[in-house]
Subunit: 396 residues, 2 copies
Amino acid sequence: MNNLFANRMANVHKSFIREILKVTADPKVISFAGGLPSPQSFAVKDLADVATKVLAEDGRNVLQYSTTEGYLPLREYIAERYSERKGLEVDPDEILITNGSQQALDLIAKVFLNVGDRVAIERPGYLGAIQALSIFEPMFIPVPLQQDGIDTDLLEKALDMNEIKLFHTVVNFQNPSGITYSKQKRLELAEIFKDRETILVEDDPYGELRFAGEDLPSLSNYLPGNVILLGSFSKIVAPGLRLGWICAPEDVMEKVIVAKQASDLHSNYLSQRIVYQYLCDHDIDEHIAKVREIYRNQRDQMVSSIEKHFPEEVAFTRPEGGMFLWVTLPEGVSSLRLFDLAGGENVAFVPGSAFYVDDGGKNTLRLNFSNSDGDEIEEGIKRLAKVIKDLLAERK
Amino acid sequence: MNNLFANRMANVHKSFIREILKVTADPKVISFAGGLPSPQSFAVKDLADVATKVLAEDGRNVLQYSTTEGYLPLREYIAERYSERKGLEVDPDEILITNGSQQALDLIAKVFLNVGDRVAIERPGYLGAIQALSIFEPMFIPVPLQQDGIDTDLLEKALDMNEIKLFHTVVNFQNPSGITYSKQKRLELAEIFKDRETILVEDDPYGELRFAGEDLPSLSNYLPGNVILLGSFSKIVAPGLRLGWICAPEDVMEKVIVAKQASDLHSNYLSQRIVYQYLCDHDIDEHIAKVREIYRNQRDQMVSSIEKHFPEEVAFTRPEGGMFLWVTLPEGVSSLRLFDLAGGENVAFVPGSAFYVDDGGKNTLRLNFSNSDGDEIEEGIKRLAKVIKDLLAERK
């Protein structure tokens, strides 16, 4: 059926990440390639208890078809938490439960993107967003990240020069770079988008995973009603439950519901009931504090291992939260070549070019610290340092 | 953000069914409108047991991210069952786990449909398919159903006159009509599609729910490698778990995997593990036999109530399986008007025009029998009969 595929499928790259993850299936390999939360962070026993409870108490409903929008008490909980944590006024009807925030990106693309529409994204950008949006054949306009967020001058220029329909941003502990937008950058963004028609998608899967510095306002705080906010239970409860959400103004939500219904009717109802019961019966803030502690230790270990072992000419970010750290090799040194050499030493990462929609990032790489323990991090970074040194020596 | 929506959203009707289901939320209403399985058919206790088991024995994995294709042992099970039940040779790598078969339709549309591509569907057709495919802006070509399946003469003419990319069919206990394709029709379809490039999508969510007559071959038996086969655990295990699958040749599967990854990474992993464990620990055939028995009784009740109460000029189908029965009022009598009148008597159904992409079906309606008990069916049909008689009397 080869000649029958839709045009859109020609534009979609075979996933580089999927190929890499195959390499890392070998248990000898220390992998900093994936984006997996620490399994130590899952409240397995508590989740098992609430699963038993909801099935025992309300099994016939829990197993039945449910509403497209998602379980109302769960949406009310999310709205309430936005109000408490961020001072955002959100109506539960402005929230729809998705299969992880990946599906939220798919729904947004469905609802908004015509072929050729301009979409501004961070450079480097979140691969999941690039993949979801690519299916709908937009033209990407990548705007460089600086240490404290996007280059707002270049973003404004891009907006002035192009009719940009949508801007996708991860303001907290960005994937892949680990960068967090400063308060100043957030204010600048609010100023830039205040009088524009462009849709601002604030993708915030890691926002609660801050282990250093202080929480900053959401872009929604500055631009209420202008932002589509995405959230996820994958990192604060568990990713295998595949639950995220999209928070959008009512006129958008009306279309999102139609798109969601056409896509898969509704999200897994058992999971929704489990997560809601878990939030009722357990202290999520206490749990998140534990998760943060685990990630802080892993980040600290990776930063100190890098400081100890990497050559000084290699730069890297020190994230205040999330799961990733970004490494920049000296100009002209290829991380793709590094990836091949690292394979020989049984250590893996994602070459940075995977996160660029243009030709950039060839000397960069992403390291995940949340799915390895302290010893693995130290050993993996040591192995990586050796290969980096070999590669740098080649140049001389 | 009203003027920013993608063109595709303009083509998508606000779901009539969603509006109807709101009406039926009133507990006074006896509803034959939905498409819900009988909650009596859920093995609640067994599913609770296996949920507890998989979380206790392998919680940290069960809650983690998983593969896009789906849990391999579950895919192996499905392949094995195709072989045993239908004599189909399927490789587990030709199966991908979806969020119900609704998502399979979305993925097929993503992978194959360009704007304006011709898609042949049954008339009346499955609403979920119409919704999923509509998002990708095809041109529908509806081909009438007869008592024993699609009108193959008209289908062949349509295929000869148009470049039809895809044909969607529900050969067993079709939704909405309840019709099952005869063996003869299946053979004719095989003959028609043998040398064509058109993709044949055989959507089979109800195939195992046959309670009368005998199982017939799948179109895949006649056209191995040419058919995309869709299946679902919604009706044989439980819909709240949102698990279905797509079975497609390897070259198609490669694209489907890319589309699935972009859509939501992977299906709910906890549910996949629960269903697989359930299939291992319990006798699914014994369970399905029970479900069939429940549905057979409900169908028998509805058929006998209709025979007793409906005027003779009203025709209806006697399905051999599935969940729906199709009613045809005399020409010129409007089921939309009947729906309004039925509201006054607290009984609901879906007016048939919801299942037509053209102007047809105005004198038809769909009745669901799987979600009401015997007394409700008798009482609901009695109420409906009264309104039908009133409506027919108006004409005279």
